[in-house]
Symmetry: C2
Subunit: 148 residues, 2 copies
Amino acid sequence: MYDQLKLDNQLCFRLYTAARLVMQAYYPYFEPLGITYPQYLVLLVLWEKDGRLVNDIAHLLHLETNTVTPLLQRMEKQGLVTRKRGKEDTRQRIVSLTPQGKALEERAKEIPNCLLQKLSDKMDDINCLMASMPALDQVIEGLARQTK
Amino acid sequence: MYDQLKLDNQLCFRLYTAARLVMQAYYPYFEPLGITYPQYLVLLVLWEKDGRLVNDIAHLLHLETNTVTPLLQRMEKQGLVTRKRGKEDTRQRIVSLTPQGKALEERAKEIPNCLLQKLSDKMDDINCLMASMPALDQVIEGLARQTK
DNA sequence: TACTTTTGTATCGTGAACGATATAAATAAA
DNA sequence: TTTATTTATATCGTTCACGATACAAAAGTA
């Protein structure tokens, strides 16, 4: 058994597991809003700046457009966004929030705090991870560069 | 726009993105072996100890059995594992490595180092994250507790 | 202008991930 | 011993995630 192949030694396994479990922790709050975690991410970027192109959203989230397109189609069907064709460039899709989509911001704003409260006994560890966010960003940037 | 709803402030988005990008970084190495990242995780736990039950694997990976069962079925079809019924308890499935599954360990052992080399210019950040692994484990434990 | 390439999005197929549900075997209770 | 409950897997339906591919519009080239 090679040490580098032990689950206990693998950073990636932690990231993979932590990401999934945090998403699961979000779901009790998403359910009343009728959204999923990736849909929440799309809403986050649209709440920051409305009327974006599919490609912009995909880049911001480090996703492929063939992931984002069906995601947006589902969100359109649910009445959260509209997908209008671009005026000058008719290939483009301009994704905009509907009133319902906008209204969710108010209802979502407390969710991050709720999650933190759930983990109030792990506050030291959370702070440690918060402090590592720049390092995470660097690694993400390094990995994103590879695939270019 | 609420600060806590900015993508830039969200730890979870980093975890989600980093986990996906690390998986993508693995794929060039997985492709010659014909496996996926979740299949690699199953192999990791079987290389550590062969002949496990579906439930044990699921618990170790923090996955549901309804995720693991189809995963193992695909791995069986590819000839990486066998799934034999338990002798005493016939509901159980004893998952064991085939010779091919065992043989992959030798070929996989250098993969983690290869990944590290790819990120050699981000070594400081990697070390920072390695140092945060106990914090990540604590948060994972905290979140896993919630869903029980 | 006609042709080629690039760009923006969409479709398709496959493998996760998970909630809900099913099923059969093992265990506990009546 | 019958009945009820728990346990170990499995099946189904939906949503991601992504490689491969398609396609039409836009931009560049001959």
